[in-house]
């Protein structure tokens, strides 16, 4: 079983992590200028989790994420320009502006999708895996969700069914140690949530969520298990959100020293350092620079795109009703 990323894969993972970070930073800037709409949940510091885990999936494997899903959007190979366009409410966005940053969906890359009901991505991926199993397809579904989401009832119900039916699903618990504003010890009496896997008859593993290679390995192994019919895996990736809960967040609940400690372990620096040894620092710098430029261009294009007009967005086929 191959479970270490090739050099090419590591380069691509780094590139996507940088794309994500740049996306977050530029959105943060626009938010400060009051040019965004609604809350934005940045994932700075968590890029390795979403990006490296998605790297083990195929286009026809599905992933469901949460309100904090930018790394998954980019990780699953979605087009930065159309992501930005959606977040900025443009007609050219993935959902023509209907979704916004939390509710993106793209069937082509299998990112289906963001979800702002905490926990809802968990049965979502489980249901997809059920469909794959019924159709006897060689496909895997993955749910990426938070430590807060792990306390919801649907998490329990979904994991129980996934374990029972040996569904091809990966539960990727992104433990960034906070719910919205509360620390994990205010949400759950146990520190390590992967220990719950035993109660669902599936393996539970813990990884360093700031180490892209470690995340890749764990996800690759879980995907392999799923494809072979051995069922689900719960992966708990310990990580940290460096920019707080959201742009509408007044902050103050994540201690400065804690943030500083985690900044030391910035996942992009860890991924870059690993690659430095393989391809040299110059090449790494080139990858990063190119990614930054690409995301800048995505913003430029997207911001020039038109906003939607209501007339073409009235309820239509999805809501077709005969007599009203």
């Amino acid at each position: 079983m191959k479970n270490t990323p090739s050099v090419e894969e590591q380069k691509e993972i780094l590139r996507r992590m940088v794309l994500t970070r740049r996306l977050e930073e530029m959105l943060g800037d626009l938010a400060k200028q009051a040019k965004t709409r609604g809350p934005l949940h940045r994932c700075d510091g968590q890029e390795a989790v979403g990006v490296a885990a998605c790297a083990v999936l195929n286009d026809d494997d599905y992933v469901c994420t949460s309100h904090r899903g930018h790394h998954v959007y980019i990780g699953k190979g979605m087009d930065p320009r159309r992501i930005v366009a959606e977040i900025m409410g443009r007609e050219t966005g993935y959902c023509r502006g209907r979704g916004g940053h939390m509710l993106l969906g793209d069937i082509a890359t299998g990112m289906l999708g963001g979800n702002a009901i905490v926990g809802a991505g968990i049965p979502a991926a489980t249901g997809m895996a059920l469909s794959f199993q019924v159709l006897k397809q060689d496909r895997v579904a993955m749910a990426v969700f938070g430590d807060g989401a792990a306390q919801t009832g649907i998490c329990h119900e979904s994991m129980n069914m996934a374990g029972l039916w040996k569904l091809p699903v990966i539960f990727l618990l992104e433990n960034n140690q906070y719910g919205l504003t509360v620390r994990q010890e205010v949400q759950s009496p146990v520190k390590d949530l992967h220990i719950r896997a035993e109660g669902y008859g599936m393996p539970g593993v813990m990884v360093d969520g700031n180490d892209a290679v470690a995340v890749y390995r764990a996800a690759a192994e879980a995907a392999e298990r799923a494809r072979r019919g051995y069922g689900p895996t719960l992966i708990e990736a310990k990580t940290y959100r460096m920019e707080g809960f959201s742009t509408s967040d007044v902050g103050g609940y994540q201690p400065e020293e804690e943030i500083a400690q985690w900044r030391e372990r910035d996942p992009i620096r860890i991924a870059a350092a690993a690659l430095d040894e393989l391809i040299g620092a110059d090449e790494v710098a080139r990858i990063e620079a190119a990614a930054n430029i690409e995301m800048g261009a995505a913003f430029e294009q997207a911001l020039a795109d038109p906003l939607p007009v209501f007339e073409t967005h009235a309820p239509s086929s999805a809501y077709s009703e005969i007599s009203r």
């Binding site: 999708g113 019924v134 069914m161 005969i322």
Partner: protein, 325 residues
């Protein structure tokens, strides 16, 4: 035509659709080995195997959410929720998932699943197993809701629901499963979702109902006939989308209306019927629309209490007389 029970009609719809389309599968509590507590899925696990007919744990909330995304991923799930009283557990999946993504991801996904359940009172199942919560599901955009009363409609609508690209909530009634009726033969006899049916023509007052209440309305019409009152009985069959055309046509003729629903009165489905008639038929009305629905209280267990509160033919007839007074 074949004479069969309502439960058998549903069973044959499921069997035929599963034979026709390998992407149709079923899941729900006790539907497999046992064949369902109302025996609607009898024999289907034997015929289609455990992959396509699944007994599940008691997890209505996740099951419904899973049906939504399974439907986005290439299958056509048919989920049984044992009692309509458990619909609250399914609502997040309907309101915040199916309804949302059907519109937001329009053009990218279809969500062809059917949620079958059964409601209604009359047999002492108590406050948590006898409710009709029609308006909860009928309130959700992007969801169709049907509630057939005859075996023929049950079969034809279930087949149409399974083939529909949108989510359909299929409301059955525990007292209908043993009712018998003629069902047309042939694998492709569908009943169109969204079309009401005139069950009995009449000229004095229109009675609109669904599910078991159609039987009560028919009984009321027979009683009214004894007094020379000609009631038209319309089986709406579909709650959403509502066949407002059929409602308008009938009221244009009778100028009086009674709306019937077994669910609670306040914010219930009968309220929508009354409001829709207000919207579309005000000038045709000679009297206010009469609402016949459940009093706004939990359903008591003991027979005299339960019997007294359920909407029935006598209450419908009284309402019709009041409308005509």
């Amino acid at each position: 035509m074949t004479m069969m029970r309502y439960a058998e009609a549903l069973n044959s719809a499921l069997r035929e659709e599963m034979q026709r389309d390998p992407t149709v599968f079923m899941f729900g509590e006790d539907i497999g080995r046992y064949g369902g507590v109302f025996k609607v899925s009898k024999g289907l696990m034997e015929e289609f195997g455990e992959n396509r007919v699944r007994d599940t744990p008691i997890s209505e909330q996740a099951l419904t959410a899973m049906a939504v995304t399974a439907a986005m991923s290439g299958t056509r799930p048919v989920l049984e929720i044992m009692y309509a009283d458990f619909m609250p557990l399914t609502l997040d999946a309907l309101v915040n998932q199916a309804s949302v993504f059907g519109y937001l991801w329009e053009g990218q996904v279809e969500i062809p699943f059917v949620l079958r359940t059964q409601g209604g009172g009359g047999v002492g199942t108590g406050a948590q197993h006898a409710k009709s919560l029609d308006s909860f599901v009928a309130h959700v955009p992007g969801i169709k809701v049907v509630a057939p009363v005859t075996p023929a409609d049950a079969k034809g609508l279930l087949k149409a629901a399974i083939r529909d690209p949108q989510p359909v909530v299929f409301l059955e009634h525990k007292l209908l499963y043993n009712m018998r009726g003629e069902v047309p033969d042939g694998d492709d006899v569908l009943v169109t979702i969204g079309k009401a049916k005139v069950v009995k023509e009449g000229t004095d007052v229109s009675i609109f109902a669904t599910s078991k209440m159609v039987l009560e309305a028919e009984q009321a019409a027979r009683e009214l006939a004894k007094d020379g009152i000609s009631a038209e009985v319309i089986d709406l069959r579909t709650l959403r989308p509502l066949d407002i055309g059929a409602i308008m046509a009938s009221i244009a003729k009778t100028h009086h209306a009674v709306v019937v629903n077994e669910g609670w009165t306040f914010c219930g489905f009968a309220a929508e019927l009354s409001a829709s008639i207000m919207d579309h038929c005000f000038d045709d009305l000679d009297a206010p629309v009469e609402r016949v629905a459940m009093p706004d209280m939990a359903i008591p267990y003991s027979e005299p209490l339960e019997t007294a509160m359920l909407p029935n033919a006598a209450k419908i007839a009284a309402a019709a007389r009041k409308a005509l007074a």
